[in-house]
């Protein structure tokens, strides 16, 4: 119960309460409005309600131009240029790739924090955590897919951003340092993506990361290699300690380094402005340094609006992709004792895997990439020709396109299609029932797995008519065995299906072929593939 004396403190000095003072002096409406206006001006560091309305309605602003003040005084706007040259703000020349890279980094932080809530960096808990995330956490799969897709997109977008900067010669004086920090940002992005790759602790993660991490050991001389290897992995091989260290690199060290570099990168853009398309300025002249009044496009609010539209559009596209087209992979639990056939590095490191097939691990895996990193970072300090026009830079542009082609070829060479020798019987088993993927057998619907014994020689007469998918797989099996006849003489493939339990059928694959090195004259490969009615395998 409020009494009269409690409502108004007896000795209230309205001088201490500007709002009350204003209301007393100017009346409720006007006093309140002025206070709100002042609060907004303070929050936006310089723009009051009238200024904001004028900005949004694209009307002429008071002089001096009030939107310049937030760039001088406020944090979020001081890291952006006040205005841009109208020739540099279209889709060409930037393709908005730099902004997109920053946006993806922010998206990765937001989705990453969500994932951190449900994750423990332990070799015992990590994989069960993944299953829990996917089975028990609303939006768990959605956020994980978004994080994974965003990470891979970020590697691609940052690479394209770098390629674009190179092609338009934007790294040239005075932007050499911007390029150097940008290239290091690219390296850190790769590091982030790569360390994150390990965290699900499935077979895919363990073996893909093992390929790359094995290069640590190759750093010369051996004493350094061993030290670096143990420093990063916490043990000679990836295990509990390695997972924890990769996690800390992923969520702490690399993001911190990236933020620091990003700050420098952005600051340099504020200082030097966006470079114009090369054909729009005289050779050797940096027009962005002094933009004529009629060529200015202000960050507030025009450029900001365009950037926000772009972000909303990209978000919609990414959400649609992860909902309908993309699922982050999750293979069975990591097992250091069993190497799956055809293990590959993440796609953005396949070119290194290709290099490794060409030569020595130390040379191709450590020395060459280190030279490349150094050459890329310091490139603008050697390529000092002032002319940014495409026609004046034929050697550099040719070199860059050759480099891109080489990366594509090396990437192909990194895949199992190039120079990987395995035994043909293992290849057949891999096609039929790989240890970490679905393969042909598991994709057969449960009803079609009719118990019985079939072989590649008599399947046409023994497979029941109501099991078309089984028939199709037996056909494929027969085809694989037929193709391997040269290496596996007189090979015959068997498939025996039996009912192991209610709802569980066991498919035993057995491949037998003539092998004179065996005393019996025959060799075989046998594998049991149990299939449960509810397993829900989808064709790949």
């Amino acid at each position: 119960m409020a009494t009269e004396s409690q409502k108004v403190p007896p000795n209230l000095d309205v001088g201490e309460y500007p709002l009350l003072k204003r209301i007393r002096e100017k009346g409720l409406r006007r006093g309140l409005f002025e206070s709100i206006d002042e609060a907004i001006e303070r929050t936006t560091v310089g723009l009051n309600l009238a200024d904001l309305r004028a900005l949004l309605q694209d009307r002429a602003l008071s002089k001096p131009n009030v939107r310049l003040k937030p760039h001088a005084d406020a944090f979020w706007t001081h890291i952006r240029p006040t205005y841009f040259h109208t020739d540099a703000v279209g889709f060409y020349p930037t393709l908005r790739l730099g902004w997109l890279s920053t946006y993806l980094f922010v998206l990765e932080i937001i989705t990453g924090i969500f994932l951190m809530v449900f994750y423990t960096p332990s070799n015992v808990r990590a994989f069960p955590n993944m299953l829990n995330l996917l089975s028990n956490v609303p939006f768990g799969q959605f956020v994980r897919d978004l994080h994974r897709f965003g990470a891979e997109a970020m590697v691609a977008i940052v690479s394209l951003h770098m390629l674009r900067t190179f092609l338009t010669g934007s790294y040239k004086k005075p932007r050499q340092y911007t390029w150097a920090t940008g290239f290091l940002l690219f390296v850190v992005t790769l590091g982030l993506s790569y360390t994150g790759y390990l965290l699900p602790w499935d077979q895919l993660a363990l073996w893909a990361v093992t390929i790359g991490a094995s290069m640590l050991e190759a750093a010369p001389p051996p004493v350094v290699g061993n030290f670096v290897n143990v420093l990063v992995k916490g043990a000679p091989d990836l295990g509990a300690a390695g997972l924890l260290r990769f996690y800390l690199l992923h969520v702490f060290l690399f993001p911190t380094v990236l933020l620091a570099l990003l700050g420098i990168h952005y600051y340099k853009v504020v200082v030097h402005g966006h470079s114009l398309p090369p054909e729009k300025e005289e050779p050797g002249v940096d027009t962005a340094a002094r933009i004529p009044r009629e060529k200015r496009r202000y960050f507030l609010i025009d450029q900001l609006r365009t950037e926000m539209l772009w972000v909303v559009f990209v978000t919609l596209v990414m959400v649609a992709i992860v909902v309908w087209f993309y699922d982050a992979p999750l293979e069975p639990h990591a097992n250091p004792l069993s190497t799956p056939l055809h293990t590959v590095a993440p796609w953005y490191f396949l070119w290194i895997q290709g290099l490794l097939k060409l030569g020595d691990k130390t040379l191709m895996g450590v020395i060459l990439p280190t030279i490349l990193i150094g050459a890329f970072t310091l490139w603008p300090y050697f390529d000092v020709g002032p002319n940014r026009r495409y026609g004046a830079r034929r050697p550099a542009i040719t070199l860059s396109l050759l480099f891109v082609s080489a990366i594509f070829i090396l990437t192909w060479m990194g895949t199992p299609d190039f120079a990987v020798e395995t035994s043909p019987d293992q290849e057949i088993m891999f096609e039929m029932a790989p240890s970490t993927k679905v393969g042909l057998v598991r994709a057969i619907p449960y009803e079609d797995l009719v118990p019985g014994a079939y072989s590649t020689e008599d399947y046409e007469s023994t497979v029941p008519g109501d099991a078309p998918e089984l028939l199709a797989v037996m056909e494929e099996y027969a085809h694989l065995v037929e193709e391997a006849q040269e290496e596996l003489p007189n090979a015959v493939g068997f498939m025996v299906i039996d009912q192991m339990q209610a709802d569980l059928r066991g498919v035993t694959l057995r491949l037998v072929w003539d092998d004179p090195t065996q005393s019996s004259g025959q060799n075989s490969n046998v594998q049991l593939v149990p299939v449960h009615a509810d397993a829900g395998y989808k064709k790949e």
Partner: protein
């Protein structure tokens, strides 16, 4: 706005696409439409989440049973029978009503759930002396065995999945025997320890020992309940049986363990018949690994 963004260059549709910026009103309308699109899509995901989570749970439970079946086939069927029907004088049946109707639990004086009973038995083994001559080895890495906790869970799920058929008393009909592809007799090395072994590989031997053969399940480091530990094997092997070289002694212990049983242990190794299961190369690898310890 529009005038401000006009580029004073040649005009073509392509050029416009690259350089022109949409008018502010169009940008705002598009941004609103895209935002609504995001909201609707995410809401659609949210509506489908309960069904998706349920489907995922069913699918990973099923795959856990599949994985358990493979492990059972590798590690358990040797004693408990390929259909879990048990083997007389070796290990009890699991695919049997007694396990599921509470009789076995009562017999063991177990007051917890059946799932816990099976899981603990798989994980920790049964070191106590029971009516069965061979003690159940420990399988979980937590107790020095070869399996990860999730694999122990997989085996448990597989064993529990017999419930329906075991309680119904239904005997599952095995499929017809595979067509007569004779497993060549001499593919495996046999029980004669005088055969010449090829060069062994320590690493491959380790994989066999810790992995598919499950040796580490009984030969637990630091424990000597079920079987002698592996440590120091390289040093001990030559001293056990006079006249046998270390290689021959380990070879004999693998294929003909009953010939010399270390004092204080049950003669269970001999029942595993490794001579019928391993090639000479595999035995050589195991010997090499043993000697390296």
């Amino acid at each position: 706005m529009a005038e401000e963004n006009q580029m004073p260059t040649r005009s073509s549709a392509w050029h416009n696409f690259w350089t022109k910026i949409l008018p502010a009103e169009v940008q705002l309308i598009l941004a609103t439409v895209f935002t609504l699109g995001i909201i609707i899509t995410v809401a659609w995901v949210g509506i489908n989440e309960p069904a998706r989570m349920q489907e995922f749970t069913a699918s990973y439970d099923a795959r856990s049973i599949e994985n358990g079946a493979v492990i059972f086939d590798d590690a358990c069927s040797g004693c408990h029978g390929p259909q879990g029907q048990g083997i007389q004088g070796v290990a009890p049946a699991l695919n049997t009503p007694e396990l599921f109707n509470g009789e076995r639990l009562a017999e063991m004086g177990w007051s917890g759930s059946l799932e816990d009973f099976v899981e603990l038995t798989v994980a920790a083994g049964r070191p106590s002396v029971t009516e069965w001559p061979a003690a159940m080895p420990t399988w979980s890495q937590e107790y020095g065995g070869p399996l990860r906790p999730d694999e122990v869970k997989d085996v448990t799920n597989f064993v529990l999945n017999w419930e329906e058929t075991a309680l119904a008393g239904e005997v599952l009909e095995a499929a017809e025997a595979p067509p007569p592809v004779e497993e060549p007799e001499d593919r495996f090395c046999g029980f004669d320890i005088d055969v010449e072994l090829p060069e062994g590989d320590v690493e491959r031997g380790r994989v066999l020992y810790e992995g598919e053969l499950g040796c580490a399940g009984c030969h637990v480091a630091g424990a000597n309940v079920v079987a002698p530990p592996l440590e120091g094997m390289g040093a001990r092997a030559g001293e056990r049986v006079p006249g046998l070289s270390p290689e021959k002694y380990i070879h004999e212990s693998i294929v003909k363990a009953e010939a010399y049983v270390v004092e204080g242990y049950e003669p269970i190794m001999g029942t595993l018949d490794f001579g019928d299961k391993l090639t000479c190369q595999e035995i050589a690898d195991l010997v090499a690994y043993n000697l390296s310890q």
